[in-house]
Amino acid sequence: MELTIPPLILESVDVTLSGRRVLDDVSAILRPGRVTAILGPNGAGKSTLIKTAAALIAPTQGVIRLGDRSVTTLDPRERARTIGYLPQDASAHWNVAASEIVALGRVPHRIPFAAPSAHDLAAVTQAMDATETTHLADRPVNELSGGERARVLLARVLAGKPDWLLADEPLASLDPAHQLDILDRLQQVARGGAGVVIVLHDLLHAGRVADDVLLLKQGRVLASDEAAKVLTPEKLRAAFEIEVSVDRDRQGRLVCVPIGRTV
């Protein structure tokens, strides 16, 4: 995680899926060392945006760049070492041990069929330490609780030590304590220099962790700026059609509380 991590840039990105335009002229500069929250109502294209940024969906128009290099033309393995992606569905198809799931994060770093290097093993240990999952190492992953599994899957992404960590609704189906755990870990990752992009639903969470916010509505960017400039009653009303009271807590973090629907 050197200081040389370039920004993740989306330039006039259009995405059409099954004939429907899901993203429409999306441009944004995502900065490393910061947590960027992608917010927007259901169907706004948040998941599509994060998948497109992870080069899992090819844009019909526009480019995604890391600094001055196009992400779409990167070698898949090199891209995988640079951009880590945590998908929305938190499941494993085979009931393997938690440590084996975490070790999958090293796949883009490893020579296929060679034994994992000391470096790989260290990265796995470190990731499990950081997510407090070390004691779960030998447990079959599908026997873990939802919160434990979410942490194991996060450890999987962290083990790859990507410059960019893109997480699609990592808090779904977690209780409040585990939600805060995951948010804090993601914030730590950003403080360590990496870029963190999270799709979020909860405005309270966004106010708590986001340095920057990208606000989407119907596939278009309503706003993309520092959190304090985007999480305002006016912008949130425009995006969600709700009234929101925005305040700050004692640590100066934004607190956005939905009051009711706009009438």
Partner: protein, 320 residues
């Protein structure tokens, strides 16, 4: 892990030895190296049969493990891809057309049909290389090949051809020569290598397709390996022995509790387990009372299905 692998290897060696010894005429190892007249049985009959049993078991078990990993479904086996039915269709066509007197022609027809179905499968799934597409296209191809086979049987010119087709479809290792071995082995060897190459990608697929792609897995390339590997191994195996089912389904299933669920960790054990199972079953086939033999494909289904059902009922929790 290593100890369990060694156990499987010993099992394969024993089963191979048994396959040389057992039969209507027992040939003890003492007769192998002396000028015993029974030595001819070994070289001409038993050895080719044992080598074929070994290699067919290997590829059936291995391809079953690969397909279960690729489709992330413990019920997958080579039959779902449609390769076995297509290869069978090619062979049946050769028999019905009366050009199967030369085993090479039969083999070529079976392989050509298998290749054709692989090409179709690849074409059908190329645009979106996902396991769901794959399983749908494979099922369609399997039913199509099955229907065409039935059609060919119904228009067969004479009852002898029908009898030959049915006999062949049941799958057996009887009366195979070293020529059959030489024809089939290169295809199986190449396919086996391709199938083993899928291991790391299969592991990544544990997390789903998006996560696997985000880890640098090229799903298109993986699918190509699976299609080519299955086509070469199963095509060649069906082309020399007919359809032997059940091995690819049950062997990975049986071994999963011992070797863990990680797809790549199951490949080698499944290959060994398949070899041991087919060799043993084939030896038992010869020991059936009466003048003839039980067909390997039939025996496999007869012994296997109830056994598998029992395991499912007993250990339902272990596989869920």
């Amino acid at each position: 892990m290593t100890r369990k692998l060694v156990f499987l290897i010993v099992l394969v060696v024993l089963a191979f030895g048994l396959s040389l010894i057992a039969g209507k005429a027992w040939v003890p190892p003492s007769a192998w190296f002396s000028p015993d007249p029974r030595f001819a049985i070994i070289v001409e009959l038993r050895l080719p049969r044992a080598i074929l049993g070994l290699s067919i078991g290997t590829v059936l078990g291995l391809s079953g493990a690969v397909l279960q990993g690729y489709l992330r479904n413990p019920l997958a086996d080579p039959a779902v891809v449609g390769v076995s039915s297509s290869a069978a269709l090619g062979a049946v066509a050769a028999i019905v057309l009366g050009i199967a007197a030369n085993p090479l022609v039969l083999f070529a027809c079976a392989m050509a049909a298998a290749a054709g179905s692989m090409a179709l499968l690849a074409a059908l799934t190329w645009r979106s290389p996902s396991p769901v597409q794959f399983i749908l296209a494979g099922t369609v191809l399997a039913s199509l090949a099955g229907a065409l086979t039935a059609f060919l049987i119904s228009v067969a010119p004479n009852p002898y051809a029908v009898a030959e087709v049915i006999d062949w479809l049941m799958g057996a290792l009887t009366d195979r020569s070293l020529d059959d071995v030489r024809t089939a082995l290169p295809f199986m060897a190449l396919g086996t290598i391709l199938l083993f190459l899928t291991g790391p990608s299969l592991n990544a697929l544990t997390l789903g397709e998006d996560a696997a792609r985000s880890l640098g897995v090229r799903l298109g390339r993986l699918q190509l390996l699976v299609v080519l590997g299955t086509g070469l191994t199963i095509g060649a195996s069906v082309a020399v022995t007919g359809v032997v089912g059940f091995v690819g389904l049950v062997v990975p299933h049986l071994l999963r509790p011992f070797f863990g669920h990680r797809p790549s960790a199951l490949l080698l054990p499944s290959a060994l387990g398949g070899a041991a199972l087919v060799l043993t079953a084939d030896s038992l086939c010869r020991l059936a009372p009466g003048a003839g033999e039980v067909r390997l494909g039939v025996a496999m289904a007869l012994i296997g299905a109830p056994f598998f059902l029992m395991l499912l009922l007993k250990g339902r929790a272990a596989w869920s």
